[in-house]
Subunit: 305 residues, 2 copies
Amino acid sequence: MTVTDRDPYVAFRDELVAAGLLLPTDAEGIYGRSGTFERVVAGVDALAARLGETDGAAHRCFPPVEPRTVFERTGYLRSFPDLTGAVVTFVGDDRAHARLLATADAGDDWCHHLTPAGVVLCPAVCHQLYPTMAGTVPDDGALFHLQGWCFRHEPSPDPARMQAFRMHEIVTAGTPEQAVAFRDRWVDRGLDVLRSLGLEVEAVVANDPFFGRVGQMLAANQREEALKYELVAEVADATKPTAIFSANYHQDHFGAPFGITTPDGAVAHSACVGFGLERITLALFRRHGLDLDRWPAELRARLAP
Amino acid sequence: MTVTDRDPYVAFRDELVAAGLLLPTDAEGIYGRSGTFERVVAGVDALAARLGETDGAAHRCFPPVEPRTVFERTGYLRSFPDLTGAVVTFVGDDRAHARLLATADAGDDWCHHLTPAGVVLCPAVCHQLYPTMAGTVPDDGALFHLQGWCFRHEPSPDPARMQAFRMHEIVTAGTPEQAVAFRDRWVDRGLDVLRSLGLEVEAVVANDPFFGRVGQMLAANQREEALKYELVAEVADATKPTAIFSANYHQDHFGAPFGITTPDGAVAHSACVGFGLERITLALFRRHGLDLDRWPAELRARLAP
């Protein structure tokens, strides 16, 4: 990395853009990706998929929008309203359309002409899985892996804090003991996998960015109970490592509202691990340089999809 | 297909759901996909990518949301307001959050508490490519291929009319002659590729679903000038084939607002072809049956990613 006295996030973003790996847009945190960037993303994604398949996880895929009803049941609006992306659409006639266009042509906000579309941008890939798991899980727990796009409204110059990004998750539901054991096993496994890519990572207890005053208590509680671990690595700022992987124990947060139960009739507990595909890709470019052709041959072979 | 007197769309959807290929949700046109469904999607996607790469197209990837500024410049709000998905988010404080939750807890629409987020769901994968092409294209035209999610607000029981779906597009910009030649070549090529998968397809002149009274004229004009061709195949209804691939000549619709020019300084014309990944997958399940293991071995080999 070039030494610079500029904000390290802006400096790294500018380097990625200059190298043609990310294509900037008018909206902060929304980027195009080059074919080279996508080759690495595909490699990391395939690695996560193979780990899931090896464990017998069933593969699922969900779109980047989820039904409003699912979104509401996850409690996301209570905990992370500021990150939410709800979808509105136009349902009027020709005359209402003329008014909509007049507003847009005047350069004003035209969203107030619109009506809820019944869907919300998916903030976490596993959300849409839970309604499909309603009912009783097998004795040894349910196990799925899935990749998809997440949206979180947090415009930032940090290239690792994108508004739209992909996660590959592996998700389980079962007894509390099964969920905790899954989470703990994956902290170690995540460290092994990411270190095998040449990354310097460590595990830290973490919290989600809960909103507002109540959120501060929720975050403190989450840390106190050590529900969430993140694996952090250097991305833009050598002094402040970035979470590139997380392992989360949800207790009954999803099992209860979505009616998931264990064979003995108790509410199922769930846990998930998420490979942050863009963040791992960025950490790899930071660690091994922006020229993919000069990465170690062994690493490139490992990331061949 | 089972012979049934029910609406053929609902009947085919129910068969796909019973076979576990699609997972229904509370929102019409929003589905989870099984691992088997995704294997076929990945195979078709890889086929489209190989065709693009063989022609020397550069690979790009864009997220499922695009900047509002890009959306506005495409003219989509004028032509397809009813299909639009604009994104709104919460920017208030603790007290405003309490009001938001009170509305949601009462089961009322809570979107009016929200504010435009500066992004819109991407309705066409090539939208976000055009701003990156601003400037002069090479003598033989610019050529890209890209896959991504599209959103169109048109809830429907037809499994082929999803609200969220993926397209793999190949896009060119150059002189009018180059753009037309690309589009025409791809009509023939699309027929060859899809027939090689065992599908019975034919090419038809088509129009986009322009909105309202003005839209009727735009649609008639588009058909009259034969700007859009669709390749149609049987999906749910044997009597009404479904578009699974399109080849479109845009004239200067994108070149003008995004400042794309040819080497002689004229506004570039563009054309794109789109492989509808879910629709081709559905056509294949319709044609070859819902049990992937019983598809012809040669076809399965061709669709191995």
